[in-house]
């Protein structure tokens, strides 16, 4: 039992993904219990990458369904190739064929466009199915997925039910922009990927960018950790720190200093306000400590008064007491 989880951990490392014990346990359980995994977390922490690495680990094809608002069955499941059907009809128009024959022809497998979901279960080997950003879809679509997720089958009115020969490994990712239905969550195992610890981030940087000097990786991990303590609109995630590390290497830097950080802040912060805020912090403190500025929102947040220290400015009830005494 123990070995299984360790194996997955090791395998994922080989596939270019470092996962901790908890993540590895979840991966192992999803395989053992045949349940999809719902991965949530901030953007850029490697939700999609985990599915990609898993497909490399298992050496199985990865099929990806990118969800967006308004996606429907014809984009996700299957569709008839109307244009080719029309062309076919025109092409055979002069041949005086039997009507039934033509009909059979144009509704054959040949004219069926298999969209990702149908594709993933009609393989003759297991696949890794990645349903990306599931929180973007409509409720109807989410309901349609339930059958696939629990039974690994799809019902199409024209065909009947298509059951997967080999159950796919399913990963769903979500940025939690809206709440998913209980029914969907119940069918999945839940995994939350948070920002990594500095040690883990350093290891990730070393794995992803082999040419990076050890010292630089450590520094980047530490500075990024400090920046994540600051209240920003969008916190830098692993993807950003990897980008940052790559750009620093391109610029030929071996270690961090305030000057180069100021020049490259826009790689870490994706909003103008965030950039300005970080810039100010570096300039005024002349270091990379990212302490909160005086009068900053964060400072107020941390020094929030306890109920004992705040004296009520006014207390109506006391006033009545006094009044009744008089």
């Amino acid at each position: 039992m123990h070995n299984n989880v360790e194996q997955i951990k090791e395998g994922m490392y080989q596939a270019g993904y470092i996962c901790d014990d908890k993540t590895a346990t979840t991966l192992f359980l999803s395989e053992a219990l045949h349940k999809p995994i719902l991965v949530e977390g901030p953007a850029g922490v490697g939700k999609t990458a985990i599915a990609q690495a898993f497909s490399r680990l298992k050496d199985l094809p990865l099929i990806r369904l990118q969800c967006y608002e308004g996606i429907d069955e014809s984009k996700a499941l299957y569709e008839w190739d109307y244009k080719r059907q029309l062309l076919h009809i025109q092409a055979v128009a002069n041949q005086q064929l039997d009507v039934e024959e033509v009909e059979e022809d144009i509704f054959s497998d040949h004219f069926l466009l298999r969209r990702p979901l149908l594709h993933s279960i009609s393989f003759n080997q297991p696949t890794v199915l990645l349903i990306d950003e599931i929180d973007k879809v409509d409720f109807e679509f989410e309901a349609m997925l339930l059958e696939l997720l629990s039974e690994f089958q799809v019902t199409i009115p024209e065909f009947g039910t298509i059951k997967a020969n080999f159950a796919p490994y399913v990963f769903l990712t979500s940025n939690a922009t809206r709440e998913l239905s209980e029914a969907l969550k119940r069918r999945c195992l839940y995994m939350y990927l948070d920002f990594p610890t500095p040690e883990l981030e350093e290891r990730i940087l070393l794995l992803k960018i082999p040419e990076i000097p050890n010292q630089l990786a450590g520094q980047i991990a530490e500075v990024v950790r400090k920046i994540r303590q600051v209240r920003l609109k969008k916190l830098p995630s692993v993807a950003e720190s990897i980008d940052w590390a790559r750009s620093l290497i391109c610029l030929g830097k071996e270690e961090l200093d305030t000057e180069i950080t100021l020049q490259t802040l826009n790689i870490l912060a994706k909003y103008q306000e965030d950039c300005i805020k970080l810039d100010q912090m570096v300039q005024t403190q002349n270091s990379l400590n990212f302490q909160p500025l005086v009068g900053d929102h964060l400072e107020m947040y941390e020094s929030r008064p306890t109920s004992e220290t705040v004296k009520p400015l006014f207390n109506p009830t006391e006033r009545f007491k006094n009044r009744s005494k008089k």
Binding site: M1, H2, V5, D20, D21, K22, T23, T25, T26, F28, L29, A32, L33, K35, L38, E40, G41, W80, Y82, L86, D138, F139, A176, R178, E179, E182, K185, R186, C188, L189, Y190, M191, Y192, R231, H297, M300, Y301, R304, P305, T306, S307, V310, P312, L313, F314, N315, P316, T317, R319, F320
Partner: protein
């Protein structure tokens, strides 16, 4: 006590904290536990977390209960833990592999109770969802804050459904024609345009005096987080003077809001005692010209007017100029209009009123408009 009992109590406690643990979650959890090595904490924790918790916002609550049950000094193994907590020994000496098997379906079904909404723990702690807004300790406030993003999210998804219904509208000619190509030019399927729903302009008036401050801040922060569903949300705080506090809501954090409103806005006038009448009057004078029939006014407060004149004519005038007025009162309905509460007078001019004593009721009230 057997392992099974311990687990059942663990699930019960989770439900009491507000985490919905259904029988099928419990079953998954048992199945997962039979598969992993208990001697490594991370494995044990992860298999419970992944099967029981389906929303990140529940994590702090889950960790809390988990710590009470399973957190032990590292040198004691998890197996021994069950021995320690159990008076009887027979059930626990088994190795994890031969644990009494995944519980039978009857066992699982018998515990099919969901969150008991009014249950309170033996130590007097309440499910933060039904915790009263009048809080004495900051700990309670924090526990409530943990749930806050969850409620905002849940509410937002409810509102999305509402805005998407009813597409009995004009035909979208272009899309219908394109779709008809597949049926040889015959428009079998009509595609209609989605109606653009008019979003209301919200003006929220909040009593921010100490007695209801907690409640007001939660309400305002929740409102701010739902901003995208309204065309415009403007918020005003008042005690006996009224001031706009919209800009403070940008970060929508109930904790900082409490302090920053009192610090940075002019909400306290000459006397410093809550005065609804004067506040309404001032609001009408200063912002009356900006009211329109698109505006919905929300009032948060207990209507306790400290025996000042209620000046309900001001509210009536506001009513005449706006679309709707809703009142959210943090007191129970029985105590409305008792003592110095002028609820009865003000109610005449409200289109709706809600008793909102806890987060659950607030969520329900909010989902109605």
């Amino acid at each position: 006590m057997s392992l099974f009992d311990t687990m059942q109590r663990f699930f019960e406690d989770l439900r009491r904290e507000g985490i919905p643990v259904s029988p099928s979650h419990a079953e998954d959890c048992y199945r997962a536990l039979t598969l992993i090595d208990w001697s490594i904490e991370d494995f044990f924790y992860a298999s419970m977390f992944t099967t029981l918790v389906k929303d990140y916002h529940y994590k702090p609550l889950f960790d809390d209960v988990y710590r009470r049950y399973f957190k032990v000094p590292t040198d004691i193994s998890r197996l021994q833990l069950f021995k320690l907590t159990s008076p009887e020994k027979e059930a626990d000496t088994k190795a994890p592999g031969e644990m009494e098997g995944p519980p039978t379906s009857e066992g699982v079904e018998s515990q099919g109770t969901y969150i008991n909404k009014n249950a309170s723990a033996p130590d007097g702690r309440k499910n933060p969802l039904v915790q009263d807004f009048r809080l004495d300790s900051l700990d309670d406030v924090r526990r409530m804050e943990v749930l806050f993003p969850l409620i905002a999210k849940r509410l937002a998804s409810k509102m999305i459904i509402k805005t998407k219904r009813n597409d009995q509208n004009k035909v979208n000619f272009r899309r219908t024609l394109r779709r008809s190509m597949s049926t040889g030019g015959i428009p079998v399927e009509l595609i209609t345009q989605r109606k653009q729903k008019e979003k209301p302009v919200i003006m929220a008036l909040c009593d921010v005096s100490v007695s209801v401050l907690q409640f007001s801040c939660f309400a305002l922060a929740l409102l701010a987080s739902l901003e995208k569903f309204f065309q415009h949300v403007r918020s005003f705080g008042f005690v006996d003077e009224i001031d706009e506090i919209t800009h403070m809501l940008k970060h929508a954090d109930p904790v900082t809001l409490r302090t920053s409103v009192l610090k940075n806005a002019k909400v306290v006038g000459e006397r410093g005692y809550t005065n609804y009448g004067l506040s309404f009057k001032n609001f009408l004078e200063r912002y009356g010209s900006q009211l329109s029939l698109k505006t919905t006014v929300l009032i948060f407060g207990d209507a306790r007017n400290n025996w000042f004149h209620d000046q309900s004519w001001a509210l009536e005038e506001i009513r005449n100029r706006t679309k709707k007025i809703y009142w959210f009162n943090p007191e129970e309905q029985e105590s409305w209009s008792t003592g110095d509460s002028r609820m009865k007078e003000y109610l005449k001019y409200c289109d709706g009123y809600f008793e909102v004593t806890n987060l659950l009721q607030m969520e329900e009230a909010f989902s109605q408009f």
